[in-house]
């Protein structure tokens, strides 16, 4: 889109208030969605909840293909479609809602840096686990990813996606890592987040920001998803302030919202919510 067109669209976006029928699209919750996509989707839901913007969660098997950037989740607001947390935050800001206005410049820099940290380490670790770890791939990912489709399409799509993700891992240098190293990185990342959070309720003291939403999305999903082994969730459980943080956000923003309670249910097993 050219600069002028984008400015025009932003104007349009700003002009309209948030509609009642805004929708968030993701893959099928029970059968199809994977760890990383669930985390991203939960992060966006948490963010919109924090902004007090109502949104319906709609599950579609082809959500990934509907999305303008190929990544889930994406939101459909009015006549605009925006995908991924970053652009959604900007879009919401254009509509006049923002969580990070009260931060000063240095804090904004730190917030962006920490969001990149989560994306760089946690998200990549999740992708690694679900696409590069052979056991997990065979037993969880392949069956889930292609589940809405008949054979042989399900296998073809899974292999295609796996090949794509593995190439990307090679490009960023993660292909050579072992599972232990990846878990080590997750631990480092959680340690950094835990240090930064300290004893505060949110990362930037009194009010939640998009960083809180993102961290919540990822950590909550890791904690409540049952995989082959519990190693990943054990790494997060080591940090009590992070689990308390997740519980707090869950209680504040998700409990009591019936339509969203299913978004929090465990993905591959009906595990109760965080203990």
């Amino acid at each position: 889109m050219s600069l002028v067109a984008e400015a025009f669209v932003t104007q349009l976006a700003a002009a309209e208030p948030w509609p009642e029928n805004a929708a968030l699209y993701q893959q099928l919750k029970e059968e199809q969605i994977l760890l990383s996509d669930n985390a991203s989707s939960l992060a966006v839901q948490a963010f919109l909840q924090m902004c007090n913007l109502p949104v319906r969660v709609i599950c579609r098997a082809n959500a990934e293909y509907m999305s303008p950037s190929g990544k889930v989740p994406f939101i459909h607001v009015g006549n605009q479609v925006v995908s991924e947390l970053g652009p959604i935050v900007q879009f919401v800001k254009a509509k006049g809602h923002s969580l990070s206005d009260g931060l000063d410049e240095v804090q904004k820099a730190e917030m962006k840096a920490y969001m990149e940290l989560v994306n760089n380490m946690l998200l990549t670790a999740e992708l690694y686990l679900q696409w590069c770890d052979d056991v997990t791939v065979e037993e969880i990912t392949h069956p889930r990813y292609g589940s809405p489709y008949p054979w042989p399409l399900n296998r073809i799509l899974s292999y295609q996606k796996q090949w794509e993700v593995r190439r990307k891992m090679k490009a960023i240098g993660w292909a050579g890592k072992t599972l232990e190293q990846v878990l080590e990185d997750v631990d480092q990342c959680c340690h950094a987040l835990s240090q930064r959070l300290g004893t505060q309720p949110y990362f930037f003291n009194k009010h939640p920001t998009e960083l809180d939403a993102l961290v919540f999305g990822h950590l909550f999903t890791i904690l409540t998803t049952q995989l082959i082994t519990d190693e990943l969730s054990e790494k997060v459980k080591n940090y009590s302030n992070l689990t308390a943080f997740c519980r707090r956000i869950e209680q504040q923003y998700f409990e009591g919202h019936d339509k969203d309670s299913s978004a929090i249910a465990a993905r591959s097993s009906k595990r109760p919510l965080l203990r």
Binding site: A109, K112, A113, C189
Partner: protein
């Protein structure tokens, strides 16, 4: 500030300028504190090749002049990182000897076991002109006794890749992050003083740089058509020896292009405008964020440099100094005054002799036979090669055009026509 004299015979800074490397006492105390068993009240027990020169004590060496280090100002058209890696540092064998020799000074000095780190850092301006820089910068911040070999082709590196660290105990380490981890294990830790929050911030900013800035830097230097052709490729082709200079830059270009394609996806690579707008905007934002975080401090975390400073410096310095025809990102960086000052101050403090022509300056300054020998075979080889090629060309032309012909095993020179004719007559007669 305590002034420190670098006693190393091979250290370029002393050779060149008799300069003193100024470091803060706090930094030295910190590195001293890390060595188990070496801790003592005197801060003199720091990095093995940095010794304290007591102002009023007896010294076996002449006391240093208190003048600030003299260094050549970086002319702006010099590339920052020479495409080879500089040999500097102390041979492990020399270290203890030097320290022992100066032990008569008023201070009691432990001979630190620098044998552990007989490390050679081998690298050249590999993927970006800065990869070797990061490890080098880190090593300089911590005062690790590192000997840096300048090589201009990856074939000369012990592991086949650059940069590579050759250590006495653990063989050859090739991954950049592992090199820094190894240095840390050897107790050369620039992050020793950081609080927990600061360490967490380091991790976060490293991620920010790697995600937002690094791909765009790679694009600026290697993929952007104008920059690549006019600057990067020319630079590499000039310094990498024949025959590698024909295909190595191209291979690196292809590799980077592929990597960016995988990271960014195809629609960014195809749509130049979109890429320009969004990704460069994010990179500019990243630079602005760095600038805001740095503020008016000297380093990111107070008064002494940490590993984040090494990384930021190694990424920003080439961008600042290179002469890029298509330099939008560069212009943005130059508009952030505090980052520019930050880079130049680190340059002047820790790389004071890189101002001159890197290739000729360093062999003179480093003074190690190794690096001089490395330069000479190149020159000699090139001369030999050119003479050989010339000879072959001339002889070939001579033979082909019939000026010179071999008949009956004897080669007749061009001028001796009668003899040739006679021989031909003889042939005809026969």
């Amino acid at each position: 500030m305590t002034e420190w004299l670098c006693p190393s015979a091979t250290c370029a800074c002393c050779r060149l300028t008799e300069c003193t490397l100024l470091s803060s006492r706090r930094y030295l105390t910190r590195t001293a504190g890390e060595r188990e068993g070496d801790v003592s009240s005197s801060p003199a027990l720091a990095a093995p090749w940095h010794r304290r020169v007591p102002t009023a004590g007896t010294q076996s060496r002449p006391s240093p002049s208190p003048s600030p280090p003299t260094f050549v100002n970086l002319p702006h058209d010099r590339h920052l990182q020479p495409p080879g890696v500089v040999l500097l540092g102390v041979e492990a064998e020399e270290g203890p000897a030097l320290l022992g020799g100066q032990a008569e000074g008023g201070q009691e000095v432990h001979v630190v076991d620098s044998q552990k780190l007989h490390a050679d850092l081998v690298g050249h301006a590999g993927h970006l002109p800065s990869l070797a820089h990061q490890q080098q910068t880190y090593a300089r911040f911590t005062g690790a006794p590192l000997k840096v070999h300048r090589v201009t082709s990856p074939w000369r590196s012990p592991s086949g890749h650059l940069p590579a660290l050759r250590t006495r105990d653990e063989g050859i380490i090739s991954k950049p992050q592992q090199i820094i981890t190894h240095l840390r294990k050897q107790k050369y830790n620039a992050d020793y003083d950081l609080s927990a929050t600061q360490s967490a911030d380091t991790l976060a900013f490293v991620s920010l740089l790697e995600e937002k800035l690094l791909p765009v830097l790679i694009h600026t230097f290697w993929v952007d058509a104008k920059n690549y052709v006019e600057h990067t490729r020319k630079w590499y082709a000039e310094t990498i020896p024949f025959p590698l200079n024909f295909f190595l830059p191209n291979a690196m270009h292809k590799r980077h292009l592929e990597r960016l394609q995988l990271i960014w996806g195809d629609d960014y690579m195809e749509d130049e405008e979109k890429l320009e707008k969004e990704l460069y905007r994010e990179a500019r934002e990243c630079l602005t964020l760095l600038s805001q975080r740095l503020g008016s401090q000297k380093f990111f975390f107070g008064d002494s440099p940490a590993s984040l400073d090494a990384l930021v410096f190694s990424r920003l310095a080439p961008l600042l100094k290179a002469k890029l025809p298509n330099g939008k990102l560069q212009q943005h960086l130059k508009s952030l005054q505090n980052l520019c000052n930050y880079c130049t101050s680190i340059l002047s403090l820790y790389f004071p002799w890189d101002g001159g022509d890197p290739l000729t300056g360093v062999p003179r300054a480093a003074g190690t036979d190794g690096s001089e020998a490395e330069e000479d075979p190149h020159k000699r080889r090139k001369q030999l090669l050119s003479v050989l090629v010339g000879l072959v060309a001339m002889l070939g032309y001579a033979f082909l055009s019939g000026i010179v012909s071999i008949q009956r095993g004897s080669v007749g020179p061009a001028g001796r026509q009668p003899i040739t004719l006679e021989e031909e007559e003889e042939e005809e007669e026969e």
